[in-house]
């Protein structure tokens, strides 16, 4: 069944007291895909993940995971999930390998199976040489890899990753992405939250952008860029005093009948620069120059998920 939904949410709501963390979302995650929840802090991503992990109760709406109801079949569902939490829950006083073995016990695996899987998973996350080290002194990247190895001990069908690479250096992130990509190729369904746009573009087949507990947009990264941004973006930097007036002048022309209006669909004025959203960045930049404005710096780049994200969730700080 190619269309089989492993996770199906309809009108999903969770409230803590008076605070509505998730406010009526519909989600379908299909077998074998990598599905992302994007959003600023407090958008409801982690609350959604905790409901899918059968830890947080569903206040309203329906949630089905692997065809089961988390309210009554939590243990059966969790037996087939792998969870990589935002905050590590490794046991610092045990060794790398002991962490895997004790976790295997929670799933009721025999000692023999646990030992085989632990060795195989330590190879997979490239931690085999550290098998006997205590966890405490390991770097953040190594701890994350161990957490991922641990989450795979029960050979899960769905792997839930909440901010899997937060706080890691670029090398460690790329190693993790590579391992996650391999897992996907092996048929594991990945569900992740992130606020790194590059991570979402690298890993996710489909994603939803959440804001204030609701879904603001959904689709593949390319679909979202097409729908909410443009193929290219021109970044103009004016002298500090000119920025605002030049920006508003361009804003007035965007989408109009003039040369600039025909190639630039939208203008965004930021405190330090002006962004032109256009299908053809070079044409937009040429049209701008012909307006006779003095522009010290012009850069044409591709539209990214970050443009989509900021358009949908705004540029103001959340906290």
């Amino acid at each position: 069944m190619p269309d089989e939904s492993l996770i199906r949410a309809r009108g999903l709501v969770t409230r803590f007291g008076n605070f509505t963390a998730v406010d009526g979302i519909d989600v379908d995650v299909r077998r074998g895909e990598a599905f992302g929840f994007l959003g600023p802090n407090g958008a409801g991503k982690s609350s959604t993940m905790r409901m899918i992990g059968c830890v947080s109760p569903v206040t309203e709406g329906s949630l089905t995971i692997l065809g089961m109801d988390p309210a009554t079949q939590g243990p059966q569902i969790r037996a087939r999930l792998g969870v990589v939490p935002q905050q590590d829950t490794l046991d610092m006083e045990l060794t790398v390998r002991e962490n895997l073995l004790i976790y295997a016990r929670y799933f009721g695996l025999s000692r023999q199976v646990a030992a085989q899987r632990a060795d195989r998973l330590l190879e997979f996350v490239q931690l085999a040489e550290r098998s006997g080290s205590l966890v405490e002194p390991l770097s953040g990247g190594l701890k994350r890899r161990l957490t991922i190895a641990r989450s795979l001990i029960n050979e899960p069908e769905i792997l839930l990753l909440d901010e899997p690479t937060a706080g890691l250096d670029p090398q460690a992130r790329h190693v993790l992405w590579d391992r996650l990509f391999r897992l996907k190729q092996q048929g594991v369904t990945l569900v992740l939250t992130t606020h790194y746009m590059d991570e979402a573009e690298q890993l996710c087949d489909r994603l939803v952008v959440m804001d204030g507990g609701r879904i603001a947009a959904r689709g593949s990264p390319q679909q979202l860029i097409r729908e909410w941004a443009t193929r290219e973006v021109v970044e103009l930097r004016f002298a500090p005093d000119d920025n605002e007036s030049a920006g508003h002048k361009l804003e007035a022309l965007a989408g109009g009948d003039g040369e600039l209006g025909r190639v630039v669909s939208r203008v965004e004025v930021l405190p330090d620069r002006v962004l032109l959203y256009a299908e053809d960045g070079d044409a937009a930049s040429a049209a701008t120059h012909r307006l006779g404005l003095h522009i010290p710096s012009v850069m044409v780049r591709r539209g990214t998920l970050e443009d989509v994200f900021l358009r949908l969730t705004g540029r103001t700080l959340v906290d």
Partner: protein, 259 residues
């Protein structure tokens, strides 16, 4: 609760205990040795040669004190095992959260951890009873039953303190618990002197503490003076605390962990 699932959580605490058991083993021998030597024999000599023998007819102070200390040690061991480790498993090391990502449920990890506290009580108190016997502080073979009674006394505290610990935001509450709860009970619940010596208004307060019931029953078993009906009432009281504490802890754990 599924015993198999609780057993998996228990296995975790045993794995962790393998790294720290030496320290606890040494102190579980040294503590009864020190207390029974200093207070049972040192102070006891004064009590027995003074007016103490009138209040405690036919019983040496050592024989009076030792079973009381057995119950009090149960309370103290249970209190330590139910405060910092519980908060650590919620906030610091977060083992409970790790367990909740597996088939274990809140009730399973709670029962598994309490089972480990029971294990710690059994080992610590077995050593205590052996030291008591070494001091010649046991009068009756019924003292063998004082061990499970002391374990039950400890569990009456452990379950309630698990519930308390799950509601704390930081460990500041534990200092208050020990200062205003555990230490006064240790001193005034009949461990060191009969509660009939207390002011009249305070005596019923002592009767309400689980420790007093544990002390009374352990003492009467050790001295061979126990009667069936009062003994059963003491056990029922301790069991009721344990059961109510477990139900409360389950609610507090769910409120803290399942959000």
């Amino acid at each position: 609760m599924t015993p198999a699932l609780a057993g998996r959580a228990f296995a975790y605490w045993m794995t962790q205990y393998r790294r720290t058991w030496r320290g606890t083993a040494v102190s579980s021998v040294l503590e009864p040795l020190g207390f029974l030597a200093a207070m049972g024999i040192g102070l006891g000599t004064l009590v027995d040669s003074g007016t103490g023998s009138a209040t405690l007819p036919g019983v040496s102070y050592l024989e009076f004190l030792a079973p009381g200390l057995l119950a009090a040690t149960a309370m103290q061991t249970a209190s330590f095992e139910s405060t910092y480790p519980v908060m650590g498993a919620i906030k610091w090391q977060r083992q409970y959260h790790a367990m909740l990502a597996t088939p274990l449920r809140v009730v399973d990890l709670l029962a598994g951890h309490l089972l480990f506290v029971a294990f710690r009580l059994v080992t610590t108190l077995t050593v205590f009873v052996a030291v008591m016997a070494g001091f010649g502080a046991i009068e009756s073979p019924w003292a063998a039953l004082a061990l499970p009674v002391a374990v039950l006394t400890g569990m009456a505290y452990a379950t309630v303190i698990f519930a308390f610990a799950a509601r704390q935001d930081n460990d500041g509450g534990f200092a208050m618990l020990f200062r205003f709860g555990i230490v006064p009970m240790f001193l005034f619940s009949g461990t060191f002197f009969p509660v009939s010596q207390l002011p009249d208004w305070l005596e019923p307060v002592a009767w309400a503490t689980p420790l007093w019931h544990g002390v009374e029953l352990c003492r009467s078993l050790s001295l061979g003076t126990a009667h069936l009906v009062p003994a059963l009432l003491h056990v029922a009281y301790l069991a009721a605390w344990t059961a109510a504490g477990f139900a409360l802890a389950r609610r507090c754990f769910a409120g803290r962990l399942e959000t």
